[in-house]
Subunit: 188 residues, 2 copies
C-alpha cells in the first residue's frame, strides 16, 4: 500500500466506531481499528493521536464554530437571539453526520471516562460562549447564564436528534428545544 | 486522647480546606489534615473515606435535598415554578456555609481532577431532577431542559454567591439568577 490512502480518516472513523460499538471502547486498540479499515497502524497515528481522538477530534472545530457564529451575530441582537443564530449555524456542522453522532453517543454513554470527557467538552464550550458574550458587552451573570442555557438547549436538542431516525435535521431539534426553553422559563 | 472528639468532622473539614488552600489539594495528605486538626489519622478515616470526600461528601445529601423538594412541590406547579421552590429549599442547605463554600470553590477551580468531579456531580444532579420531573408527568424533552436550566441557574447563582462577601444569602442569588433566566429566555 502506498502512503496515500483515499479517505483514510473517514475509513478509520467508521472502523473505530464499529469496533467501539461491538466490543467496547476500552477493549479496542488502534491496531485493530487500522486493520478493520484495511490500513496500517502508522496511518492511524498520522490521523489521530489516540483512539479517544476519533471521538473528540472535532471538539476544537466545534468550539470555534460556536464562538465564530456568536461573535458574528448582529451587535443589536439580544443574547438569546445571538445564541439562536449560533445554534442554527452550528447545526450545519452535523449535516450528513447523524449516523456518526448516533454511534458516537452510544459509545460515550457506555463508558464513564468518555462521559466525563464529554462533560468537560461542554463545560469548556460554555466558558468560551460566556467569554464571547462578555466581549459583546453582555454583563457577567447574564453572559454566564445565557451560555449555560445555550449549551443546555444544544445538549437536549442534540440528544433528541441522535435518538431520532435522522429524517429531521439537528437544526429542527435545536429550534424546538429553544422554543421549549421559552415556554419553560415563562412557566406557561 | 479518647475516641470521642468534639466536632471532629468540622475540625477536619476546616483543617483540610486550610491545607488545600495553602499547599494545594494534591500535596495534602490525610495525616497532615488530622495533625492540623489535632486529631489522629484514624479519626480522619472514621469520618471521611479519603481526602476528596471532604469536598464531595455532601453531594449525596444535596441531591436528596434537590429531589425531595422537587418531588414535594404542588402537583399543579409548572415545572419552572417547582424548580424555583426547589432552589429555595436547597439554599437553606448552605446557610452558615459561605466561608466553606468559598474556600471549597477556590480549591476545586485550582485542580482539573476536582473540576471534573464537580461537573460529574452537577450532571448527576441534573439527571436526578429530570427523572423526578418525568415522574411528575412532565414530558421527556421539557423535563430534561428544565433540569438542565435549573442546574444552570443554580451554578451561576452559586458562583456569584461564593464570590460575594457573604452578607446576602444563596437564596437571594438563586432568585436573582432565576429572574435573569426569564429575561434571557424571552430576549427582553
Amino acid at each position: 500500500m502506498g502512503r496515500w490512502e483515499p479517505n483514510a480518516r473517514g475509513r478509520l472513523e467508521q472502523a473505530a466506531l464499529a469496533l467501539y460499538s461491538e466490543r467496547g471502547f476500552e477493549q479496542t486498540t488502534a491496531a485493530q481499528i487500522a486493520a478493520r479499515a484495511g490500513l496500517t497502524e502508522r496511518t492511524f497515528f498520522r490521523h489521530y493521536a489516540d483512539k479517544r481522538e476519533v471521538l473528540f477530534g472535532g471538539a476544537h472545530a466545534l468550539e470555534e464554530a460556536f464562538v465564530d457564529a456568536l461573535a458574528g451575530a448582529p451587535d443589536t441582537a439580544a443574547p438569546i437571539d445571538a445564541m439562536a443564530s449560533t445554534l442554527e449555524a452550528v447545526a450545519s456542522f452535523f449535516l450528513e453526520r447523524h449516523e456518526f453522532a448516533r454511534q458516537r453517543q452510544a459509545v460515550i454513554m457506555a463508558n464513564a471516562e468518555l462521559r466525563e470527557r464529554e462533560l468537560i467538552k461542554l463545560a469548556s464550550l460554555s466558558s468560551a460562549l460566556a467569554a464571547t458574550l462578555r466581549r459583546r458587552g453582555v454583563k457577567d451573570s447574564v453572559a454566564a447564564l445565557t451560555a449555560e442555557v445555550g449549551i443546555a438547549v444544544f445538549k437536549v436538542g442534540f440528544e433528541r436528534w441522535v435518538e431520532d431516525d435522522g429524517q429531521r435535521t439537528l437544526a429542527d431539534f435545536l429550534r424546538e428545544s429553544l422554543g421549549e426553553l421559552t415556554v419553560v422559563a415563562t412557566g406557561d
